[in-house]
Symmetry: C2
Subunit: 689 residues, 2 copies
């Protein structure tokens, strides 16, 4: 979907409204009024067979009777008529907004209708927004092609919402917060125009500085990551993703039919894509306001200037576990600031101007700090008896004009700061009543900017056609034998192809006799798709120390599992046991899962996720930030395991996951890793078809 | 400190103002005006040797010249005069508010003055608020005995602040949020009246429903826990505790000289005391408002009623990891609600009334749910085109009158909901613009109510004088030999007294020969206060399998550590290794630390804290909720360790910690615990003096 094709949709020279009306309370009436009365200067055609004349304009009985070009048709007729209306005009009109509800969100019957609509769209190369949506609004064109009321201010926020009601609520709130928009789009069922297509369009829209999305589901996870990653290098994308809990996932499916994925994997996907995730609705508003108002800070250093010690302490607290930090002031800076402040004031960061501070002290501190390579200045104020709130506000606004740094405020109070809050907003200085919110939002914006600036290696997967074929034939062999899992020996061959070393292993077919292996201790296991949880079924014998013990063990397992093959493996020394697997996420496809093995996997819930493809460099960075990083760093006197070897194993596994979509379940458990220069080995490999 | 003694301070019949003035900008002038002009009906005496007549009243040259009784004297003269002023009248006047700054917060010289003040207070049995404080305000008496302006509304919040500026900011904000107060107290340096004394007073104050505190430090941790625990069973105590980060701790010490403790231990102390901790300033305001407005929910079930699917999903998300839960509606309830709603609406929880909902649908749902044993109802609203916001608000307000449940709202919007927000506030219906804040605050209030209702066993420590003497004499013996640590054999005797079993151990004095022990494998260690980190110094030999290996090991260690005694211990089998220790917290005194031993202690940072004394019952509950609970529950096929045995060990350790305040550092590392019926044993015991 290129920008070109959506430009006609969102910046149309002409619009037709199918279902235009003048009956009070009808959706068609609201849309007609919104388009005709709010200042849109393009051509408007009304379509409704019940009228000849409507709102003093000619009313067409069908779309096909309009003689001129129509860029967009807005459809607000009952669902059962929608496909017919579009089919009739699909040769001439390429952009449709389907307001009508009654599609996939209502169940089977609606799903059928939506499928027809999709096929029609594919056949004729249409752009269809919706169905079951509110429409869209472009304040710059004074175009309200929706059934929400009013016209927001023209600005730089593109807001895309999967909930019409939230879009309306945001517009209402926006007025009071001085938020302004390049576009507001309600996506409804996202049949065709979903998050990826819209991200792509707004990435190239010059009016848009920040893209904000409220999402309940994501349509095509892999495409979404790929697109969002690219777009996030151009401009910030802020997403409020609902559906964190299972209960919420039920509520969603009854309401838009979206498929919500595991929230932890969602986090990983967002992080990979450089998306700024809002934790809640309030933070979503805060982030949009903040990014709309100011550019990202040029570094992570922050100065805090306050007239209240307590508020300064709370602001300092807010930096806990953040990447933005309180700047350390040099002796010179402190001396310079000290000159203009009373002796009892503190020139450490936060700078405490004292309770009787007037505007001059704020000015003095800001002036000294202006060119000191500090990316952000936060002015904190509480309205004390003698505080000239508005004078101080003027000073801060004045300072902003001469500064390339981020300037933000934390004014805490009520009536006494009301006027100043309005003045700050008008001058695009973000204010927060809560220190924690201020620093959290700044931190997220800063991290996005780091993502944007970091050059990242390509993450193209290393798909290998020959290898893929070879593996397919091994899998086909198992299928022929009606097995649902590979034998260890087969899995071992497969793993080697991806650079993963299986443990040495000796096979013993059913009924065969064992001969001396020479090397002890060993482990004896049943190797079968019917015995996947070996220890639960007593299908393995550990720590066999000599041949006679081995003979006893073989006899016992051959008696208990007469039809199965057995394998003999050495008991390896090890430094640590890991677990490595592939989970198929319903939204994002294959996800690599890794963590500590043994009881610790379940006890500490210490598994980590990665979404392939990823460069080796990136895999390494993530592992070193993961919960098992300690294995590769050496704790106290412990040696550390080889990180590069483990990166190669994970990278191989990613290729395997992407090449072999038939594999339903996969894990290596345990993978033994060592610190003594020996190779890591996959001791048990489960490949389930 | 009984209620009686502070009643004269906070509800005085007469007040003297020392430093009363009419010079503009002076603190004494502001206080005089506040007391004279805002409606206080008690007797007021002005004291200032510079005036005969002031504000048309007689002005005394000293406190001692006032003929009548004076309940409180407010002191606003320079620090150096304060002690003199109080001394002169201390026989007659018992309550003082020292506004003056220049005491411990400015360093050594001020500390000296504050000490004099404290001594004076002790001698004469005075109550002194401050020094370095803003004063206090009692709206019910129209008494503003502070230099903050204005008079807040009369209400049920007692607000105690260690920051004067934050108190002022809260008062300003309070007006717009309809918050009202029983008392506002600025505590300044908390020389004498600190958090515990004020908690005690407000616990018994009938006007006060909720006590809110902004604290930067806590004066006497053990007294605080004891008091707060008791008060929290009477009414909720909400605390915003600043100083989470090290940087913040610096900022505090430069500003009020308070000692901030480790934030994690603060959390434990608050939890133990039933205190509701606010995470940030916004939540602090939210909690005060919420508790001021409504009583705690009678159970954890919540219903959500919404006119916007998206807002319903966000509200559902907010319940993640909370103790309050979305109620499961019975079939009967669903059918009843369904009757009054259109067929497309959802009667699962959240109940989706659909975007065109008018007041009747809200009413229908609320009516059905009223007597259904659901503690809380949340009405969610976004102002859609056809939403009659004010009508719906009226319905909600009407419903509150007939309901004993918590009724709260989440209205999301701007201009269109403004009037309704004011109406809700006026009717004490708490509204939140952010679903997550709403549920978080509800959850905290609910948990407090559970704490309040739970009968808890006494947590008196089992101090044993005889045992204490015996241990003291062992410690004295070590001191005489100029050792800073006990030998293992001594530590073992001490531990047995507290019910903790040390591992069997054989001592070998310096230069002595070893004779056959009979039992292998064993461990050989150096036992010395000079070798505390044995593995770092190669002062132990593990896994000694026979006598000849033992002889070699003894030779080596005797050569390397010729002056030290050695000990021989069996290599025990074990299920898990724990670490158990005592940390002396600067605020709360001895804190028990326990967690997984070995490399896991540091890797997973999985230590837990408990503050003694605690009942065995409570210790058990906490361990079963801790990060090592899995050891006592059995994971998969693993057996579990004996929880009661471990509880006894921890309880013994608590007695030890409380009885032996001389012990500077203590830990058992490792403590081996077993699943096979064998006793847990303390393998290494470090008692440092």
């Amino acid at each position: 979907m290129s920008k070109k094709s959506l430009e006609n949709l969102f910046a149309p020279a002409s619009i037709a409204i199918v279902g235009a009306s003048n009956k009070k309370g009808k959706v068609g009436t609201v849309i007609t009024d919104n388009i005709l009365k709010l200042g849109y200067r393009g051509q408007v055609y009304l379509v409704n067979p019940s009228y000849k004349l409507l709102k003093l304009k000619k009313c067409y009985s069908s779309l096909s009777l309009i003689e001129k070009d129509v860029d967009v048709a807005i459809i607000a007729v009952p669902a059962k008529f929608v496909v017919g209306v579009i089919r009739e005009s699909a040769r001439k009109i390429k952009n449709f907004v389907v307001i009508s509800a009654g599609f996939s969100e209502i169940g089977q019957e609606g799903e059928k209708l939506e499928k027809e609509l999709q096929e029609l769209s594919n056949t004729h190369g249409l752009n269809i927004l919706g169905p079951n949506c509110l429409g869209f609004i472009v304040p710059g064109l004074k175009l309200n092609a929706s059934f929400a009321g009013g016209m927001p201010e023209v600005g730089n926020i593109a807001f895309i919402s999967q909930s019409g009601a939230l879009a309306v609520a945001l517009m209402d709130k926006a007025k009071q917060e001085n938020l302004s928009f390049s576009n507001i789009v309600s996506v409804g069922n996202k049949m065709q125009l979903a998050e990826s297509e819209l991200l792509e369009y707004f990435a190239n829209d010059n009016q848009t500085k920040v893209i904000g999305m409220y999402l309940e589901g994501i349509k095509d996870g892999q495409k979404f990551i790929e697109t969002a990653r690219r777009v996030s290098r151009i401009k910030p994308v802020v997403i409020l993703k609902a559906g964190k809990t299972e209960k919420a996932q039920l509520a969603i499916s009854s309401h838009t039919g979206a498929l919500a994925g595991s929230d932890e994997i969602m986090d990983i996907a967002f992080e990979k894509s450089g998306i700024i995730r809002a934790d809640d609705l309030e933070e979503f508003f805060d982030l949009l306001m903040f990014i709309s108002f100011v550019d990202a800070p040029k570094n992570n250093k922050v100065s805090v200037i306050t007239n209240a010690g307590g508020a300064g302490v709370l602001t300092t607290d807010a930096f806990k576990d953040k990447e933005v930090v309180l700047a350390d002031f040099s002796k010179k800076i402190k001396e310079e600031i000290k000159k203009s402040l009373p002796p009892e004031s503190s020139v450490e960061n936060p700078i405490d101007l004292l309770g009787d501070a007037a505007a001059d002290r704020y000015k003095a501190a800001l002036d000294v700090l202006r060119d000191k390579n500090i990316g952000t200045h936060i002015c904190v104020l509480t309205p004390q008896q003698q505080t000239p709130v508005e004078k101080i506000t003027e000073t801060i606004i004045e300072n902003k004009k001469n500064s390339a740094n981020v300037l933000m405020t934390i004014f805490i109070g009520g009536d006494r700061i009301r006027k100043s809050l309005a003045d700050l907003k008008e001058n695009f200085i973000p204010n927060f009543g809560n220190p924690d919110s201020a620093v959290r939002v700044l931190d997220k914006y800063y991290k996005w900017n780091v993502f944007k600036k970091n050059k990242q290696k390509s993450e193209k997967p290393g798909i290998n056609i020959v290898r893929k074929k070879e593996v397919s034939s091994i899998i086909a062999g198992a299928f022929e034998e009606k097995r649902s899992a590979l034998y260890f020996s087969e899995a071992a061959i497969v793993m080697k192809k991806y650079g993963i070393t299986p443990v040495e292993s000796l096979e013993l077919l059913p009924g065969k006799n064992i001969s001396e292996t020479g090397q002890y201790p060993v482990v004896l296991k049943v190797d079968s798709d019917k015995v996947l949880h070996k220890s639960d079924k007593q299908a393995l014998v550990l720590n066999i120390k000599n041949f006679s013990e081995l003979e006893v063990a073989v006899q016992r397992l051959q008696k208990d599992f007469p039809m199965e093959r057995l394998i003999i493996q050495p008991m390896n020394g090890k430094f640590a046991e890991l677990i490595l697997g592939i989970k198929r996420d319903e939204i994002f496809g294959p996800v690599i899962v890794y963590g500590l093995g043994g009881i610790y996997t379940e006890v500490f819930k210490m598994v980590n996720f990665m979404i392939p493809p990823m460069s080796k460099e990136r895999i390494k960075t993530e592992i070193l930030q993961s919960k098992i990083s300690f294995l590769f760093q050496g704790v106290r006197s412990q040696k550390s395991a080889d990180i590069d070897e483990f990166v190669n194993i994970v990278h191989g596994l990613m290729d395997f996951a992407l090449e072999n979509e038939d594999v339903r379940e996969f894990d290596i458990n345990p993978l033994f890793i060592n610190t003594d220069g020996q190779k890591s080995v996959a001791v048990d490999i489960k490949i389930i078809l």
